[in-house]
């Protein structure tokens, strides 16, 4: 294999009848990486995961795991374990039998078997659960047992299909951190499927944002958020304000653009090439816009009127109307001072201000 990637998905497509679920995807994943496939339902992320697991086989292309081509390897011979969305705990077996399910062929003595299962139960912080029946487990416990069952045979890759989707919010946030810590301690490559962008941002080393069977961008969480390369990615991850703009000139890593009512801006280029006169989109995150009661001398700013305001405790969300711009601009502000009557009042005149580097330039047509 050409490079050092541990999992190499090379030009893989998958058709179900006339529907193309995965369309010529190539992704390389490094050993020990926490890699997420993020996208709305139907974007092909689960199909891609099931091809890694060996439940589906590519229509074309090839998947390599640890240097071995996988196209003729059935799931039971792959060094890959999966945690299912519904956990798939065997209902007729107890916790110990579930976790030790894959150890049958090792023909361990009873003591060794129990030791291995006990070790896994310690890892998932459920010691003493050996004899519990599967229906006695809570949602979070089922999830942990499913993890232990998948990890006990020391797979090289662990695949997780929205494993936190069935948990309530609090447990989910706790499991996100635990899962991340577990991955660091066992050092196994994780491939994680989710439609929850927050979850992906919290846990992943890198994320592939998928849409319609293809990926739009593969990047670290910070890069995806700060430097999306397309409108779809910018829209899917977090909230983004878009403004139509035109390039005046672009060189030496900066571009000058004309953003209509917002005036003329300078913004950093991110390995992008734009020609003078090209129509583009200028994008700014809501939290990177400051809401001012008075104009600030020398800053990038524009006058507007508060349309709606929502107080969220730690933050407030504002929608601000700007003359000449169709959609109100979203602004998110930390409530650093005790909120009094003030900038949030509807129809109040405010100034929006932002740092130049907060502006992301995107192609207008994608």
């Amino acid at each position: 294999m050409a490079n050092e990637s541990f999992i190499s998905i090379q030009d893989v497509s998958k058709d179900f009848g006339v529907v193309r679920a995965v369309d010529r995807v190539s992704i390389d994943i490094a050993q020990g990486e926490f890699f997420s496939l993020l996208g709305p339902s139907g974007c092909g992320k689960t199909t891609l995961l099931r091809m890694l697991a060996g439940f589906e086989f590519p229509t074309s292309g090839e998947i390599f795991i640890d240097g071995q081509p996988m196209s003729s390897v059935p799931t039971n011979h792959r060094p890959v374990s999966m945690v299912f969305q519904n956990y798939a705990i065997f209902p007729h077996l107890n916790v110990s039998q579930n976790i030790g399910y894959s150890l049958r062929k090792d023909r361990l003595s009873k003591a060794d078997f129990n030791a291995k299962v006990g070790e896994m139960l310690d890892l998932i912080k459920l010691p003493g659960y050996e004899k519990r029946a599967s229906h006695e487990l809570s949602g979070g416990e089922r999830q942990r047992v499913a993890l232990a069952r998948a990890l006990v045979r020391r797979p090289k890759v662990l695949l997780l299909d929205e494993p936190l989707g069935a948990l309530d919010k609090q447990l989910r946030e706790q499991m996100q951190l635990e899962l991340r810590a577990l991955q660091k301690s066992v050092g196994i490559t994780f491939v994680f499927v989710t439609h929850d962008q927050e979850e992906a941002l919290t846990m992943s080393d890198r994320i592939a944002v998928m849409s319609k069977g293809r990926y739009l961008q593969i990047d670290t969480p910070t890069q995806l958020y700060e430097s999306p390369t397309s409108r779809t990615v910018a829209d899917f991850i977090g909230t983004m304000n878009f403004f139509e703009a035109q390039v005046k000139d672009a060189q030496n890593g900066r571009a000058h653009i004309d953003v209509g009512p917002l005036g003329s801006l300078s913004a950093p280029l991110r390995q992008q090439k734009f020609a003078a006169g090209q129509r583009v989109l200028a994008a700014i995150r809501p939290e990177k816009i400051a809401l001012l009661a008075e104009p600030k001398p020398g800053a990038n700013q524009v006058k507007g009127q508060v349309d709606t305001a929502a107080y969220l405790g730690d933050r407030s969300h504002f929608y601000v109307r700007i003359e000449g711009i169709e959609r109100p601009v979203a602004v998110s502000a930390q409530n650093m001072q005790t909120a009094g009557p003030g900038v949030g009042d509807p129809d109040r005149q405010v100034w929006l201000s932002w740092a130049e580097d907060a502006v992301v330039i995107l192609n207008a047509d994608d």
Binding site: A53, G54, F55, P74, T75, N76, H77, V80, S81, M82, F84, Q85, N86, Y87, A88, I89, F90, P91, H92, Y101, S102, R104, K105, S134, H135, G139, R142, R149, A150, R153, A166
Partner: protein
Amino acid sequence: MTLSGKAPKIGGLGLYAVFYLAFIYGPVLFLPLFSLNDSTFISFPLKEFTFKWYVEAFQSERLMASLFNSVKVGVPVAIISTILGTLAAKAITRYRMPGKTPMMSFLMAPLVVPGIIVGIALLIIINRVGIDLSLWTIGIAHLPACTAFSLWIMISRLEGFDRSLEEASLNLGENAWMTFWRVTFPLILPGVIASLLLTFTISFDEFILAFFLAGNEPTLPIFMWSQLRFPAQLPPVLALGSLILIASFVLVYFAEWFRRRGTHLESSSGV
């Protein structure tokens, strides 16, 4: 029963239900009644209470032989039809394949094709081929309908079955065969037992096909029917009939109990 614990009022529907049950089970209950009556004639008024017909039934060699004939047919038919039904149900519920719907219809058709038509058709073919009529031919005739019944039970069992359990087993390193034995089979076992009990019951008391295809070894229903002509032979037949009635109730009750127990197990597997 109402929540307040008052005695339920028997309205029009309740009355209908009582008549309905009486209509169905009333005649059947005459069987045990007359089987305990010390008279050769099936008529009121009843005479002395007796167990002698039961004793006579067990002493009648031909009656016992026909009972064992029915068991000899019923047990293999139950086992074979359940195996076939289970495999077909697994294929139908698990694999994408062309012609699945018509195939299902064909497999289920024996449930609705009149037995007399199947019986005549089979008799003609078996005569043409030149096979002697025997318990074998009865068993073969019972297989299609019993397989259809088994298929029906097993499909409902497998459809409620979480597919990812089998995938999890495969993913944990087991092959398809071991996955079947370690995961699928234990989970469909209640269905398998229900299928065995029901198909045995169907074969055991089937009359028309057995009537057409029996050789010189009659099954129990055929023998009982033949005894109706001899009044003296009737009471022992009633005695045995009563025993079979009880056995059938017990079998069907257990079949249903197993089927429900399985459903319960299935529902507890959800998150």
